[in-house]
Symmetry: C2
Subunit: 330 residues, 2 copies
């Protein structure tokens, strides 16, 4: 039931995932069953019901709204699709949980029901950002707003595991996002976090600046969720800005219009690099399980990618690797 276009986009994305996976996957669709079945009726499954394409519909009568206050909503709506779905994962009836619903609610319910990994004070979400080289994981991407140095350190550990496991980069480089390269540059929290990172066995390369991310200078960029959220949303707005400026340029004369028209294919391809949707959701790291949170506006494609990402996280046992890493680093 999650996301701005639920259940339509979710059902469509799930069907696409099942089709592409060739029988490898089965999906439990959790939510108001009538609405889900209705969606199936229009979704072009050739009249097939959910069960016939690898789906099981699990009824959950309540819906946490995108604008609900997370904790209050979870308390008031015990039979929400979020709570029911995560419980299925906790009871090992599902290998992973995926949602495009209320981010805060998914986060709270995952943390509460699955439990935090030992040594993790704050579970975190990390976002993969395209760069000039390989993607960089920005962690925390918006969950933990006021952080202690220890939390930033945990983000670094979890981000490193994710990148090495899922991107296949061994011993990923970790940078601490700050306002200068020198060790003495930073705010109160990052200065202390620097010391923790420096004495750890992580591949810590020191401070990195805002300009280093897109250059691909590090595999993991660590920051608090306040900075991470603002940076990610700023990045998301760049394509719209460039488009507006290009339109202005096109309006400035016939030849310029022609130029922009000729160029637009390339531009669209490049802009796609900045479209985080393509990457399909962000993983919640630090809980005892696999939980992926999607954008409220997730397209069917994003939903599909989230499912494949969850599958891979299960296969690579990312959360078990984090458990081991937290033991090593404590």
């Amino acid at each position: 039931m999650g996301g701005d276009h639920a259940p339509h986009n979710v059902v469509t994305g799930v069907l696409d995932a099942l089709r592409e996976s060739g029988g490898r996957l089965s999906v439990l669709l959790v939510g108001q069953e009538e609405r889900i079945h209705a969606e199936f009726a229009k979704a072009g499954t050739g009249g097939k019901r959910a069960g016939m394409v690898g789906c099981t519909v699990v009824n959950a009568t309540e819906v946490v709204d995108m604008h609900d206050a997370p904790n209050a909503a979870l308390k008031a709506k015990k039979d929400s699709s979020i709570t029911v779905g995560i419980k299925l994962h906790q009871e090992a009836k599902a290998d992973a949980f995926v949602s495009a619903g209320n981010t805060g609610a998914v986060l709270s319910a995952s943390t509460l029901i699955l439990g935090r990994i030992k040594g993790v004070g704050r579970p975190t979400i990390g976002a993969l950002i395209p760069t000039e080289t390989t993607p960089c994981m920005l962690v925390d991407a918006g969950t933990n707003v006021d952080c202690k140095p220890r939390h930033l350190f945990e983000f670094a550990v979890m981000g490193s595991i994710y990148v090495s496991s899922m991107i296949g980069k061994s011993n990923p480089s970790v940078g601490l996002l700050s306002i200068g390269e020198e060790e003495i540059k930073g705010n109160e929290v990052t200065l202390e976090a620097f010391a923790l990172l420096k004495k750890s066995s992580l591949n810590f390369v020191g401070n990195v600046e805002g300009r280093d991310i897109l250059k691909g200078m590090v595999d993991v960029a660590v920051c608090d969720g306040f900075v991470g959220n603002i940076l990610l949303k700023f990045g998301e707005s760049v394509p719209g800005f460039l488009k507006a400026k290009l339109m202005e340029f096109a309006e400035s004369g016939f030849w310029n219009k022609l130029r922009v028209w000729v160029a637009q294919g390339g531009l669209r391809a490049v802009m796609k690099n900045l479209d985080y949707q393509e990457y399909g959701g962000v993983p919640l790291l630090g809980v005892n399980g696999v939980s992926i949170i999607g954008h409220g506006g997730s397209t069917p494609k994003a939903i599909k990618n989230m499912i494949f990402r969850a599958e891979e996280m299960v296969r690579r046992k990312v959360h078990l690797q984090i458990q081991e890493a937290m033991v090593r680093h404590t």
Copy 2:
């Protein structure tokens, strides 16, 4: 003596400014006089000495390096171009001070020598960012890393004065940079700052998100210098990233290469929007005087623009307006 290409870029920029100003301006060039005169000899002034084109060279024997620790350097180098130059302004022998030197040193010396405006706890630098509509002032742009709510409030007051005075926007809208529009979203500091801004007479529109800046949703976006610095440097790196991705695209086939080639004029024009250099330095707000700090890599054009900006700030009496505003808001 300030900047990575001093004194060459400074002298060239000054000469350009004098040429364009048509006798309106006179400039005191502060630094090691021999090196400055040597620069004049090669700078194509047709053999004219400094004095003949509206320049006075003021000797200052020492140079604060770009990598010097600001306060230690100012203490050790009493006869630096920064200290001598700002003293000239304080003694009313100059109407303003402009430098592309060590940012921290210019900041410290300006604050120390000119003094803070009454009611200003933390002088700040603000950066004008191009948007889809009119420029937005991001304040603080990197000076004050750990801020109290009151400091963010002061930034809002000073940013509003700057934008209304220099951009000519009356009653500029002020947004508090945060992680969600709702009043309850933010970190500990911004939540308190929100309350201060809300009850003030500023045109406060509430929280804005990272994605709202380039859309031009507000005239002044308030944040601490840690966030401001990271965001600005991230923005500066976008053109390089897009260029790299476009080159990749061009390499992917003849027609794509042709497309990029045809488009590049437009792209360059658009990228220029993201080139903060064009804007020529950032003003230091909250001191009793006019002090403008340039990028270390300032081009002659940036130096020239800094001089014109300083001239305009003097003409519009921005620092006196801030003095009045601080009285009104306290």
